[in-house]
Amino acid sequence: MMEALLSTPLLGLVLCISTYLLGRWLQKKTGWILANPVIVASALCIVILILLDIPYENFALGGDIIHMLLGPVTAVLALGIYNQRAALKAYFVPVLVGCVAGSATSIFSILGLCRLFRLDEAITMALIPKSCTTAIALSVAESHGGLTAVTAFAVLIAGVTGCLCAPLFSKWFHITDPVAQGLATGACSHALGTSKAREMGELQGAMSSIAIGVCGLISVGITLFL
């Protein structure tokens, strides 16, 4: 029987979806930021695979189906940019200048630190897109031969840090302009940060969600030259 269960993609599908639903329920119940569905589902899947001694390859039969949908998920991010086109038009220059500065800072500071710590290419290329939203970061890492698992982890750390600290960062670094606050939050901590930016104000939220898409595109552009 075990053989039959291991050879069907349904195993990976059911594992991913059920742990994800559990994570979503947990987040609703506790409201705690670390009870994030991505963290809960990934951790549970890993623990279950290890405890039941299921080889990764068997999980991947189903996991790859869900992973394939990351393409369409990235594509629909276009709607996020399109829906904010009024705000984008009103602040076009600051958005463009800020996102170029943010993306370049992120990529080159990571590149420098990776060289300092003597990390290999697969990990360096995985870390470089870590300020982008997960969907874009994973595709960038994949197309440059980075370990996507490391990318997912790094993106999560950036997101949680930004989400917890965006108001504190604004205070410490004396960022008082709402447009600057929103763009800075979106540039360093993508979608997770945007949820916080929305709490800080409507303009901050709009700017942060614009930064997700624009920084993603600019980062893709910069990594082409690395």
Binding site: G12, I17, Y20, V38, A41, S42, I46, L49, F59, G63, D64, I66, H67, L70, P72, V73, T74, A75, L77, L79, G80, Y82, P94, V97, G98, A101, G102, T105, S109, L113, L119, L127, K130, T134, A135, I136, L138, S139, V140, L147, A149, V150, A154, I157, A158, T161, A166, F169, S170, F173, I175, D177, A180, A184, T185, C188, S189, G216, V220, L224
Partner: protein, 122 residues
Amino acid sequence: MSVMTQICVLFAICLAGEAVSAVLPFPMPASVLSMVILLILLGLRLLKPKQLQAESDFLLNNMALFFVPANVGILRYKDAVLSNFWPIFLISLLTTPLVFFVTGHVVQLTMKLLRRKEAKRS
């Protein structure tokens, strides 16, 4: 559009993204190209956001699910990740406030310059 049509349109856009990515001489991710194609279609008003609503709401509301397999993939590279855990963690943590600092100040400066220019004009 029916949900099935929406799925078909979106998958077709992604397929076009794959085609463009294969033709381009540099490694541009197909998914990002699909995003650009969709953005162009929306901009040209060939597609309206409403026409893709059911499909895009489903994907965006459950976005977290699609990241899970990539995370579980860490099992394949356990050793490489564990032996470099602290550098990976520190780099991810430290560069986040740095990006916030630079972006925030650059935007604030740009806004100030724009306002000054506007004040001069009026």
